[in-house]
């Protein structure tokens, strides 16, 4: 039995079943020196009731990018931390338990884009009961273009109050950025878009020729 298979066997013998499936997926995609540490993180996350799929994906990503094992472990650990903070924020906003894993993942993604926990908490509290991923990304888009954080949240909340939902929040942010690129100041760009709500133009649909060219993603071969 090779050393790698022995490690896999021993870990599988002591690991909860749900995390075993994660570990089995990691083998061959993640450098062996990182396997044990990542598995520990997955097990801990599973015990805490956190979604583990984003952590497995982060490990795959590190393996694909040829990142050093210790840096993959660090990134997975950081992602787990962001999931913990995300869940705490959602619980603080009054989300019922258990929190929706998709929501936890979405809020963690917003934190990864640099939004502060305070800002995330502000938005989740302002949109109770709503999936917050697109709203958070819309705010992150605005903040990334140097719109003030409070004003960005206020615009998205106003958009929600005008009846917009989901990916339409991204259209609101894009409209504000577009006004900025036309030469307006940040303040007038926000005011202009607010005056358009809820009739912010959506992006156009793809041309039929584009749709006809589209291909489905093919499963790729594993590369060493």
């Amino acid at each position: 039995m090779t050393a790698r298979r022995l490690v896999a066997f021993l870990l599988a013998a002591t690991t909860p079943l749900a995390a075993q499936s994660g570990f089995a997926r990691l083998a061959g995609r993640v450098p062996p020196p990182a396997l044990s540490a990542i598995d520990s993180i997955l097990v801990a996350a599973h015990r805490e009731g956190l979604p583990t799929e984003p952590l497995i994906e982060k490990a795959f990503e590190g393996g694909a990018k040829g990142v050093a094992p210790d840096k993959i472990v660090l990134a997975v650990s950081t992602s787990a931390g962001q999931l913990r903070v995300a869940r705490a924020l959602l619980r603080g906003a009054g989300e019922s338990q258990p929190t929706d894993p998709a929501e936890v993942t979405a809020v963690a993604a917003a934190l990864a884009r640099g939004l502060s926990p305070e800002l995330v908490g502000q938005l989740t509290a302002a949109l109770p009961g709503e999936p917050t991923g697109p709203a958070l990304h819309a705010v992150a888009d605005l903040v990334g273009h140097r719109f003030a954080e409070d004003s960005s949240v206020a615009l998205i909340v106003a958009a929600a109050q005008s009846g917009l939902r989901g990916l339409r929040f991204l259209d609101v942010a894009a409209a504000a950025v577009q006004e900025l690129q036309r030469g307006r100041s940040h303040a007038t760009a926000l005011a202009h878009v607010r005056s358009l709500l809820p009739n912010v133009p959506p992006p156009p649909r793809p041309a039929p020729a584009t749709v006809s060219r589209a291909r489905r993603v093919q499963p790729g071969p594993d590369r060493p």
Partner: protein, 189 residues
Amino acid sequence: MIGAGVLSATDREPTDGEVVAQILAGDAEAFGIVIRRYEAGLLRYATRMLGHPDAAADAVAEGLVRAYRHLATCRDPGRLKSWLYRIVGNRCRSHLARRSTSDLSLDDAPPLADPQDSEAAAERAEQLAQVERALDRLSPEKREAFLLKHVEGMSYEEMAAVTGERIPTLKMRVHRARAALLEALKEYE
């Protein structure tokens, strides 16, 4: 000569307002006057913001084309300069926001000073490189504030029109930029 038809009978240089009116009346060639007047300053500003002349040329060219296409939205042609700097500034910020780690760093970019075979020119190029490295250490907001105030020579009112920020905010940024630049320059001595 680009835009020669806009000169008045006394050959006085037309005001920005007159040039804009001419362009909006259908004389596209008159946009050459706008380019001639502001290109050097915009290129200098963008080069200092982005740290590389090629990226700066892209930002300025994109900004000027956008300005031409949206000229009708320039509400005060008398403040054409601020409007152009705002558009190019926004392009620079977009470039900075999407800059990947594989982009050329300031250390790799060639110095702007044209290296001639003279000791004085070489020394000046080295001094400029030191200042550029120090400037690159500033945050984009402080860098922009210092450039607009001390290199482009704008008043705080003009800077407010370019950036959309309040004057007290801009003053604070410029004050901090001066201190940060001196700090960085001292380390390179």
